[in-house]
Symmetry: C2
Subunit: 230 residues, 2 copies
Amino acid sequence: MHNGLHNASTEPELLAGMSASEFQRLIDDTSVVELPARKVVFSEGLRPTFLHILLEGTVELFIRHGRRESCITLVQKNTPFVLAAVVTDAPYLMSARTVTEARILCIPAGKFRSSLRRDQGLSIATATAISEAYRSLVRQLRSQRLRSAQMRLAHYLVGMHEGAGGSGTIQLQISKRRLASLIGLKPESLSRVFASLSQYGVHVSGSQITVQDFRVLEELSQFDYDIDAE
Amino acid sequence: MHNGLHNASTEPELLAGMSASEFQRLIDDTSVVELPARKVVFSEGLRPTFLHILLEGTVELFIRHGRRESCITLVQKNTPFVLAAVVTDAPYLMSARTVTEARILCIPAGKFRSSLRRDQGLSIATATAISEAYRSLVRQLRSQRLRSAQMRLAHYLVGMHEGAGGSGTIQLQISKRRLASLIGLKPESLSRVFASLSQYGVHVSGSQITVQDFRVLEELSQFDYDIDAE
DNA sequence: TCCCAATCTTGATGCAAATCAATGTGCTTG
DNA sequence: CAAGCACATTGATTTGCATCAAGATTGGGA
């Protein structure tokens, strides 16, 4: 197994349940690309030619409409994106772009769909992966529809913090500009919302956010661990 | 095959690709329930006990947060809902409620997951079905983030209309109250947005909407057939 | 058939976030 | 080191939609 996909422990979960032979067949045709930051991987409206799996770095999925655009999600390491378009062989509804330098595994879309038909482990892993992506979108839509900007930011901060309650410091992993877009705001508005959170014990210093008591933010955003966690 | 699931042509696509034996095993444990209108089928936060497939009638999926709620989608006939929660065995993120009287197929969730592991046809159909649901959500989020209320309504009307351009009449299948919720508005706002569309040749009479020229609405909503169609 | 309740519409007002504009800050790069 | 540039903050203003309130219309049940 070449291509840098050599460590089983860091292997994409999607491919982990495949039979050895089918895995071999699939991996033989895949390649790894290294992309610089801010490089578009694919654009909405086009049919997928590859299934992409992020190996290293950060990729964002975003939607564009005229000159407006909005970030939908940041792709996790070892996660495929966007499976749904590849499975249904339908035009992408989102675009993808690297945020940092990134290494991306590219599996020919047709080959992937063939494997899907032959390999039980793969098709289950695929169903599971899309399910998780689906649930993440439902959470986004819930936040967008039912929460104010202040609540959305509070919610994001709580989600960043491992474990409930207490105080702590968060290091933003993305620019505020992108964070604004991710939670459906303009940068100016994010700035103001951060300011408005100071009365709730949130202090901002660059990309360092210190929170006096996360319970306050949980309450503010009406964070629900059954629904919002994970 | 009892339970009213007797006509292959109207059979849920999800189960169509299953092997006969596995299908039998699964169907033996399923039941069909008949529910009156406005009956909650399941609530967010709870673990799924059944996979539900709508056979007849209308069901809406919605999210609630305190006393605010918002309709996410209306379930189509012969469509499963909400697959993602059943596949991952994780708490529902949405609630479901009948809009009209409805007949719903209920497959025990654990049984379904077992079949998923054994039946290739089922797991592929599942991946495909969730993919479609995923794509529908992306469209929702796109509309919510990037379009104004007026554009969202225009977009909805264009989507209702089969084929591009021309004039025509649309019969709303749902109450305006629900339509408002579906496109992320309050009823009062929907009413005003409808009024504002009169200058673009949209005339409203109860649940009857006549449109002089759909091309005008396509332009207004920046409808994109690659992305928005289907 | 009539009435009650839910839905829908219209008007007046409020508020949250976008927009426009100016300035400040930190990074990169010559 | 300075110049340049993207990012970030702050202020003033506008806008879009929600909210509150009051009728009008519709539809379903006794």
